[in-house]
Protein backbone atom coordinates (compact mmCIF):
# COMPACT_ATOMS: atom_id res chain seq x y z
CA UNK A 1 0.00 0.00 0.00
CA UNK A 2 0.99 3.64 -0.45
CA UNK A 3 1.42 5.62 2.76
CA UNK A 4 1.59 9.42 2.71
CA UNK A 5 3.10 11.02 5.82
CA UNK A 6 2.76 14.77 6.36
CA UNK A 7 4.85 15.99 9.29
CA UNK A 8 3.34 19.35 10.13
CA UNK A 9 5.73 20.26 12.91
CA UNK A 10 7.84 23.43 12.81
CA UNK A 11 11.42 22.92 11.64
CA UNK A 12 12.80 24.33 14.89
CA UNK A 13 12.88 22.70 18.32
CA UNK A 14 9.11 23.01 18.73
CA UNK A 15 8.71 20.39 16.02
CA UNK A 16 10.84 17.74 17.72
CA UNK A 17 7.87 15.71 18.96
CA UNK A 18 6.31 15.68 15.50
CA UNK A 19 9.59 14.60 13.93
CA UNK A 20 9.84 11.66 16.35
CA UNK A 21 6.27 10.58 15.62
CA UNK A 22 6.85 10.96 11.86
CA UNK A 23 10.06 8.91 12.03
CA UNK A 24 8.26 6.19 13.99
CA UNK A 25 5.41 6.14 11.49
CA UNK A 26 7.77 5.94 8.49
CA UNK A 27 9.84 3.17 10.06
CA UNK A 28 6.78 1.17 11.02
CA UNK A 29 5.12 1.61 7.61
CA UNK A 30 8.28 0.59 5.72
CA UNK A 31 8.73 -2.36 8.07
CA UNK A 32 5.22 -3.51 7.15
CA UNK A 33 6.12 -3.42 3.46
CA UNK A 34 4.39 -0.19 2.46
CA UNK A 35 5.73 2.41 0.02
CA UNK A 36 6.18 5.62 2.01
CA UNK A 37 6.08 9.20 0.74
CA UNK A 38 6.95 11.66 3.50
CA UNK A 39 6.87 15.44 3.46
CA UNK A 40 7.52 18.14 6.06
CA UNK A 41 5.52 21.15 4.77
CA UNK A 42 7.13 23.71 7.10
CA UNK A 43 10.37 23.43 5.15
CA UNK A 44 8.67 23.53 1.78
CA UNK A 45 7.77 26.49 -0.42
CA UNK A 46 3.98 26.17 -0.22
CA UNK A 47 1.98 29.35 -0.61
CA UNK A 48 -1.43 29.74 1.00
CA UNK A 49 -4.54 28.79 -0.98
CA UNK A 50 -5.91 31.93 -2.66
CA UNK A 51 -9.48 30.68 -2.76
CA UNK A 52 -9.59 31.33 -6.52
CA UNK A 53 -11.18 27.95 -7.42
CA UNK A 54 -9.25 27.87 -10.71
CA UNK A 55 -8.37 24.26 -9.81
CA UNK A 56 -12.07 23.43 -10.19
CA UNK A 57 -13.29 25.84 -12.82
CA UNK A 58 -10.44 26.88 -15.11
CA UNK A 59 -7.91 24.04 -15.23
CA UNK A 60 -9.61 21.25 -13.26
CA UNK A 61 -7.28 19.19 -11.11
CA UNK A 62 -4.26 21.49 -11.04
CA UNK A 63 -3.59 24.47 -8.81
CA UNK A 64 -2.99 27.97 -10.16
CA UNK A 65 0.07 28.19 -7.91
CA UNK A 66 3.09 26.22 -9.08
CA UNK A 67 5.14 25.32 -6.02
CA UNK A 68 6.09 22.50 -3.65
CA UNK A 69 2.47 21.46 -3.10
CA UNK A 70 2.37 19.53 -6.37
CA UNK A 71 4.31 16.45 -5.20
CA UNK A 72 1.98 16.29 -2.19
CA UNK A 73 -1.07 16.34 -4.47
CA UNK A 74 0.44 13.55 -6.59
CA UNK A 75 1.20 11.44 -3.52
CA UNK A 76 -2.25 12.12 -2.07
CA UNK A 77 -3.92 10.94 -5.28
CA UNK A 78 -2.12 7.60 -4.99
CA UNK A 79 -2.22 7.16 -1.21
CA UNK A 80 -4.09 4.40 0.59
CA UNK A 81 -3.15 5.47 4.12
CA UNK A 82 -2.78 9.12 5.10
CA UNK A 83 -0.76 9.94 8.22
CA UNK A 84 -1.01 13.55 9.38
CA UNK A 85 1.15 14.75 12.26
CA UNK A 86 0.86 18.19 13.83
CA UNK A 87 1.26 20.20 16.99
CA UNK A 88 -2.23 20.81 18.39
CA UNK A 89 -3.01 24.50 17.83
CA UNK A 90 -6.05 25.61 19.88
CA UNK A 91 -7.49 22.15 19.28
CA UNK A 92 -6.87 22.31 15.52
CA UNK A 93 -3.91 21.63 13.28
CA UNK A 94 -0.80 23.79 13.13
CA UNK A 95 -0.22 26.17 10.21
CA UNK A 96 2.42 24.05 8.46
CA UNK A 97 0.19 20.99 8.05
CA UNK A 98 -2.79 23.20 7.34
CA UNK A 99 -1.13 25.13 4.52
CA UNK A 100 -0.60 21.81 2.73
CA UNK A 101 -4.16 20.63 3.43
CA UNK A 102 -5.73 23.93 2.31
CA UNK A 103 -4.22 23.30 -1.11
CA UNK A 104 -5.66 19.81 -1.66
CA UNK A 105 -8.90 20.97 -3.26
CA UNK A 106 -7.62 20.25 -6.80
CA UNK A 107 -7.98 16.60 -5.75
CA UNK A 108 -11.72 16.92 -5.21
CA UNK A 109 -14.47 17.86 -7.67
CA UNK A 110 -16.43 21.11 -7.46
CA UNK A 111 -19.87 19.50 -7.40
CA UNK A 112 -21.81 18.69 -4.26
CA UNK A 113 -22.69 15.11 -3.43
CA UNK A 114 -24.31 13.75 -0.28
CA UNK A 115 -22.11 11.80 2.13
CA UNK A 116 -23.38 10.71 5.51
CA UNK A 117 -26.35 13.00 5.04
CA UNK A 118 -24.21 16.09 4.39
CA UNK A 119 -22.99 17.94 1.32
CA UNK A 120 -19.39 17.16 0.41
CA UNK A 121 -17.25 17.28 -2.69
CA UNK A 122 -16.69 13.99 -4.53
CA UNK A 123 -13.10 12.77 -4.69
CA UNK A 124 -11.28 13.27 -8.00
CA UNK A 125 -9.21 10.16 -7.29
CA UNK A 126 -11.61 7.60 -5.88
CA UNK A 127 -9.84 5.12 -3.66
CA UNK A 128 -10.48 3.38 -0.35
CA UNK A 129 -8.37 5.36 2.10
CA UNK A 130 -7.66 5.40 5.80
CA UNK A 131 -6.77 8.51 7.79
CA UNK A 132 -4.50 8.56 10.83
CA UNK A 133 -4.13 11.91 12.60
CA UNK A 134 -1.57 12.39 15.37
CA UNK A 135 -1.29 15.56 17.42
CA UNK A 136 1.35 16.59 19.91
CA UNK A 137 0.80 18.62 23.06
CA UNK A 138 3.32 19.44 25.81
CA UNK A 139 0.70 18.69 28.47
CA UNK A 140 -2.77 17.17 28.37
CA UNK A 141 -5.64 19.55 27.61
CA UNK A 142 -8.98 17.70 27.51
CA UNK A 143 -10.89 20.41 25.68
CA UNK A 144 -8.21 20.95 23.01
CA UNK A 145 -8.04 17.17 22.52
CA UNK A 146 -11.83 16.86 22.23
CA UNK A 147 -11.78 19.49 19.47
CA UNK A 148 -8.85 17.72 17.78
CA UNK A 149 -10.59 14.33 17.67
CA UNK A 150 -13.82 15.92 16.45
CA UNK A 151 -11.90 17.72 13.72
CA UNK A 152 -10.20 14.51 12.58
CA UNK A 153 -13.66 12.93 12.38
CA UNK A 154 -14.91 15.80 10.23
CA UNK A 155 -11.88 15.43 7.92
CA UNK A 156 -12.65 11.73 7.67
CA UNK A 157 -16.13 12.44 6.30
CA UNK A 158 -14.67 14.92 3.81
CA UNK A 159 -12.13 12.37 2.60
CA UNK A 160 -14.56 9.44 2.68
CA UNK A 161 -12.07 7.64 4.90
CA UNK A 162 -13.03 4.02 5.57
CA UNK A 163 -11.04 3.93 8.82
CA UNK A 164 -9.97 6.90 10.89
CA UNK A 165 -7.84 6.99 14.00
CA UNK A 166 -6.73 10.04 15.95
CA UNK A 167 -4.32 10.32 18.83
CA UNK A 168 -2.77 13.09 20.90
CA UNK A 169 0.74 12.43 22.20
CA UNK A 170 1.81 14.28 25.37
CA UNK A 171 5.14 15.14 26.87
CA UNK A 172 6.79 17.10 24.10
CA UNK A 173 9.13 14.42 22.82
CA UNK A 174 6.79 12.02 21.04
CA UNK A 175 8.43 9.04 22.72
CA UNK A 176 6.20 6.08 23.26
CA UNK A 177 4.15 6.79 20.17
CA UNK A 178 5.66 3.94 18.13
CA UNK A 179 3.40 1.33 19.69
CA UNK A 180 0.29 3.36 19.05
CA UNK A 181 1.36 4.12 15.48
CA UNK A 182 1.76 0.36 14.94
CA UNK A 183 -1.78 -0.25 16.21
CA UNK A 184 -3.18 2.54 14.05
CA UNK A 185 -1.46 1.25 10.91
CA UNK A 186 -2.68 -2.27 11.63
CA UNK A 187 -6.24 -0.98 12.03
CA UNK A 188 -5.97 0.89 8.72
CA UNK A 189 -4.60 -2.16 6.90
CA UNK A 190 -7.41 -4.28 8.31
CA UNK A 191 -10.05 -1.87 7.03
CA UNK A 192 -8.49 -1.58 3.58
Amino acid sequence: MNVLILDGGPRDGRGAACRRVAAAAAEEARGRGHAVSAFAPDGMAIKPCQGCFACWLKHPGTCAIQDDEEPILRALAAADILVWITPVAFGGYGPALKKALDRVIPNVLPYFATRQGEAHHPLRYVRRRALLVLGTLPVADPEAERIFHHLAGRNAINLASVRTESLVVHGGDGDGSAGRVREMLAAAEGAL
Binding site: P60, G61, R74, A89, G92, G94, A119, R124, H150
Partner: protein
Protein backbone atom coordinates in the same frame (compact mmCIF):
# COMPACT_ATOMS: atom_id res chain seq x y z
CA UNK B 1 -14.68 51.54 22.93
CA UNK B 2 -12.71 50.13 20.02
CA UNK B 3 -13.45 47.18 17.75
CA UNK B 4 -11.00 45.43 15.46
CA UNK B 5 -12.07 43.18 12.57
CA UNK B 6 -9.54 40.59 11.41
CA UNK B 7 -10.45 39.15 8.00
CA UNK B 8 -9.18 35.60 7.66
CA UNK B 9 -10.10 35.10 4.02
CA UNK B 10 -7.38 35.15 1.35
CA UNK B 11 -9.90 36.96 -0.84
CA UNK B 12 -9.75 39.97 1.47
CA UNK B 13 -12.17 42.76 0.58
CA UNK B 14 -13.96 40.66 -2.05
CA UNK B 15 -14.82 37.94 0.45
CA UNK B 16 -18.04 36.86 2.13
CA UNK B 17 -16.12 36.97 5.42
CA UNK B 18 -15.49 40.66 4.93
CA UNK B 19 -19.11 41.27 3.91
CA UNK B 20 -20.29 39.65 7.17
CA UNK B 21 -17.64 41.11 9.48
CA UNK B 22 -17.82 44.49 7.75
CA UNK B 23 -21.56 44.71 8.34
CA UNK B 24 -21.08 44.08 12.05
CA UNK B 25 -18.24 46.60 12.16
CA UNK B 26 -20.34 49.30 10.51
CA UNK B 27 -23.14 48.72 13.01
CA UNK B 28 -20.65 49.07 15.86
CA UNK B 29 -19.30 52.26 14.31
CA UNK B 30 -22.83 53.64 14.04
CA UNK B 31 -23.18 52.87 17.74
CA UNK B 32 -20.22 55.09 18.57
CA UNK B 33 -17.30 52.65 18.57
CA UNK B 34 -13.97 53.35 16.94
CA UNK B 35 -13.40 50.62 14.36
CA UNK B 36 -10.48 49.24 12.38
CA UNK B 37 -10.07 46.27 10.04
CA UNK B 38 -7.10 44.24 8.89
CA UNK B 39 -6.64 41.26 6.64
CA UNK B 40 -4.50 38.33 7.63
CA UNK B 41 -2.82 38.28 4.21
CA UNK B 42 -1.57 41.84 4.74
CA UNK B 43 -0.54 41.19 8.35
CA UNK B 44 1.66 38.25 7.40
CA UNK B 45 3.12 40.17 4.47
CA UNK B 46 5.34 42.50 6.49
CA UNK B 47 6.71 42.93 10.00
CA UNK B 48 5.38 46.47 10.02
CA UNK B 49 1.82 45.23 9.49
CA UNK B 50 2.35 42.60 12.17
CA UNK B 51 3.18 45.32 14.64
CA UNK B 52 0.10 47.19 13.47
CA UNK B 53 -1.89 44.07 14.35
CA UNK B 54 -0.32 43.87 17.81
CA UNK B 55 -1.02 47.54 18.44
CA UNK B 56 -4.60 47.28 17.23
CA UNK B 57 -5.24 44.08 19.19
CA UNK B 58 -3.87 45.59 22.40
CA UNK B 59 -6.11 48.62 21.95
CA UNK B 60 -9.28 46.71 21.01
CA UNK B 61 -12.13 46.14 23.43
CA UNK B 62 -13.79 43.82 20.92
CA UNK B 63 -11.91 41.59 18.49
CA UNK B 64 -13.96 40.16 15.61
CA UNK B 65 -12.42 37.37 13.54
CA UNK B 66 -14.30 36.58 10.31
CA UNK B 67 -13.18 33.74 8.07
CA UNK B 68 -14.21 31.00 5.65
CA UNK B 69 -14.11 27.33 6.55
CA UNK B 70 -11.13 25.63 4.90
CA UNK B 71 -10.94 21.85 5.22
CA UNK B 72 -13.19 21.83 8.29
CA UNK B 73 -11.38 24.58 10.20
CA UNK B 74 -9.49 27.88 9.95
CA UNK B 75 -7.40 28.78 6.88
CA UNK B 76 -3.67 28.26 7.50
CA UNK B 77 -2.66 31.97 7.48
CA UNK B 78 -5.28 32.70 10.13
CA UNK B 79 -3.96 29.90 12.37
CA UNK B 80 -0.48 31.37 11.95
CA UNK B 81 -1.77 34.82 12.89
CA UNK B 82 -3.57 33.52 15.98
CA UNK B 83 -0.40 31.67 17.03
CA UNK B 84 1.54 34.94 16.77
CA UNK B 85 -1.03 36.73 18.92
CA UNK B 86 -1.19 33.93 21.49
CA UNK B 87 2.61 33.57 21.74
CA UNK B 88 2.99 37.29 22.24
CA UNK B 89 0.37 37.41 24.98
CA UNK B 90 1.77 34.32 26.71
CA UNK B 91 5.24 35.82 26.44
CA UNK B 92 4.09 39.04 28.04
CA UNK B 93 3.09 37.15 31.18
CA UNK B 94 5.44 34.19 30.85
CA UNK B 95 2.55 31.88 31.57
CA UNK B 96 -0.08 29.79 29.91
CA UNK B 97 -3.02 29.87 30.04
CA UNK B 98 -3.40 33.62 30.14
CA UNK B 99 -3.75 34.64 33.81
CA UNK B 100 -4.79 38.24 33.30
CA UNK B 101 -8.28 39.68 33.59
CA UNK B 102 -10.47 38.72 30.64
CA UNK B 103 -11.51 42.17 29.54
CA UNK B 104 -11.29 42.08 25.77
CA UNK B 105 -14.11 40.26 24.03
CA UNK B 106 -13.64 37.92 21.07
CA UNK B 107 -16.32 37.22 18.47
CA UNK B 108 -15.91 34.68 15.66
CA UNK B 109 -17.83 34.74 12.39
CA UNK B 110 -17.34 31.66 10.22
CA UNK B 111 -19.06 30.74 6.99
CA UNK B 112 -18.82 27.71 4.78
CA UNK B 113 -19.99 26.87 1.28
CA UNK B 114 -21.72 23.72 2.47
CA UNK B 115 -25.40 24.01 3.30
CA UNK B 116 -25.04 22.58 6.80
CA UNK B 117 -24.12 25.14 9.44
CA UNK B 118 -22.90 22.41 11.79
CA UNK B 119 -19.91 21.77 9.52
CA UNK B 120 -18.48 24.97 11.05
CA UNK B 121 -18.53 23.58 14.59
CA UNK B 122 -14.83 22.65 14.93
CA UNK B 123 -13.86 26.12 13.70
CA UNK B 124 -16.03 27.81 16.33
CA UNK B 125 -14.60 25.48 19.00
CA UNK B 126 -11.05 26.33 17.89
CA UNK B 127 -11.79 30.04 18.19
CA UNK B 128 -13.20 29.53 21.69
CA UNK B 129 -10.07 27.59 22.65
CA UNK B 130 -7.90 30.37 21.20
CA UNK B 131 -9.78 32.86 23.38
CA UNK B 132 -9.06 30.73 26.43
CA UNK B 133 -5.36 30.28 25.64
CA UNK B 134 -4.71 33.87 24.57
CA UNK B 135 -6.71 35.62 27.27
CA UNK B 136 -9.81 36.94 25.56
CA UNK B 137 -13.31 36.72 26.94
CA UNK B 138 -15.21 34.43 24.57
CA UNK B 139 -18.23 36.43 23.44
CA UNK B 140 -19.56 33.81 21.05
CA UNK B 141 -19.55 32.59 17.48
CA UNK B 142 -21.82 33.20 14.52
CA UNK B 143 -21.71 30.33 12.05
CA UNK B 144 -23.30 30.34 8.62
CA UNK B 145 -23.82 27.61 6.04
CA UNK B 146 -24.58 28.31 2.35
CA UNK B 147 -21.93 31.04 2.41
CA UNK B 148 -21.76 30.85 -1.37
CA UNK B 149 -25.04 32.77 -1.41
CA UNK B 150 -23.47 35.71 0.43
CA UNK B 151 -20.56 36.33 -1.91
CA UNK B 152 -18.54 39.49 -1.47
CA UNK B 153 -21.44 41.91 -1.85
CA UNK B 154 -22.77 44.37 0.68
CA UNK B 155 -25.41 42.75 2.87
CA UNK B 156 -27.56 45.88 2.66
CA UNK B 157 -27.96 45.22 -1.08
CA UNK B 158 -28.50 41.48 -0.79
CA UNK B 159 -32.24 41.57 -0.23
CA UNK B 160 -34.59 39.35 1.70
CA UNK B 161 -32.66 36.10 1.38
CA UNK B 162 -30.10 37.36 3.90
CA UNK B 163 -32.60 38.99 6.27
CA UNK B 164 -31.81 36.54 9.08
CA UNK B 165 -28.07 37.10 8.59
CA UNK B 166 -28.49 40.88 8.76
CA UNK B 167 -30.78 40.59 11.79
CA UNK B 168 -28.29 38.30 13.56
CA UNK B 169 -25.45 40.76 12.99
CA UNK B 170 -27.60 43.71 14.05
CA UNK B 171 -28.66 41.97 17.27
CA UNK B 172 -25.03 41.09 17.95
CA UNK B 173 -23.92 44.69 17.45
CA UNK B 174 -26.58 45.96 19.82
CA UNK B 175 -25.53 43.49 22.50
CA UNK B 176 -21.80 44.17 22.07
CA UNK B 177 -22.35 47.92 22.32
CA UNK B 178 -24.21 47.34 25.59
CA UNK B 179 -21.27 45.34 26.96
CA UNK B 180 -22.81 41.92 26.28
CA UNK B 181 -21.95 38.90 24.20
CA UNK B 182 -23.37 37.35 21.03
CA UNK B 183 -27.02 36.67 21.90
CA UNK B 184 -28.15 33.05 21.59
CA UNK B 185 -30.96 34.24 19.37
CA UNK B 186 -28.45 35.82 16.98
CA UNK B 187 -26.49 32.55 16.80
CA UNK B 188 -29.71 30.68 16.03
CA UNK B 189 -30.78 33.17 13.37
CA UNK B 190 -27.40 33.04 11.66
CA UNK B 191 -27.59 29.24 11.61
CA UNK B 192 -30.93 29.16 9.79
CA UNK B 193 -30.69 27.87 6.20
CA UNK B 194 -30.92 30.66 3.65
CA UNK B 195 -32.96 28.46 1.32
CA UNK B 196 -34.05 24.83 1.06
CA UNK B 197 -31.06 22.52 1.07
CA UNK B 198 -32.03 20.81 -2.19
CA UNK B 199 -32.30 24.18 -3.92
CA UNK B 200 -28.88 25.38 -2.73
CA UNK B 201 -27.40 22.06 -3.75
CA UNK B 202 -28.90 22.28 -7.27
CA UNK B 203 -28.05 25.98 -7.67
CA UNK B 204 -24.43 25.40 -6.63
CA UNK B 205 -24.00 22.52 -9.06
CA UNK B 206 -25.62 24.58 -11.83
CA UNK B 207 -23.23 27.42 -10.98
CA UNK B 208 -20.20 25.11 -11.12
CA UNK B 209 -21.26 23.78 -14.54
CA UNK B 210 -21.86 27.31 -15.80
CA UNK B 211 -18.45 28.52 -14.63
CA UNK B 212 -16.72 25.52 -16.18
CA UNK B 213 -18.46 26.25 -19.48
CA UNK B 214 -17.53 29.93 -19.29
CA UNK B 215 -13.88 28.99 -18.89
CA UNK B 216 -14.01 26.36 -21.64
CA UNK B 217 -13.24 23.65 -19.12
CA UNK B 218 -16.49 21.69 -18.96
CA UNK B 219 -15.06 18.64 -20.69
CA UNK B 220 -12.07 18.71 -18.35
CA UNK B 221 -14.13 18.87 -15.16
CA UNK B 222 -13.37 15.26 -14.25
CA UNK B 223 -9.74 15.22 -15.44
CA UNK B 224 -7.30 13.30 -13.26
CA UNK B 225 -3.89 14.82 -14.01
CA UNK B 226 -2.15 12.85 -11.24
CA UNK B 227 -3.63 9.45 -12.07
Amino acid sequence: MKALLIIGSPRGKASASRALGGHLLRRLEAGGLEVEEMSVAAVLGSSERRHDLYRATDAADILIVAFPLYVDQLPAPLIQTLELLAERRRGAMGMTPWPGPLVQRLVAIVQCGFPETHQNRPAVDIMRQFAKEAGFRWAGGLALGMGGAVGGRSLEKAGGMLRNVVAALDKTAKSLIAGGDVPDKATAMMAKPLMPRWFYHAAANWGFRNQLKKHGARKKAFDRPYA
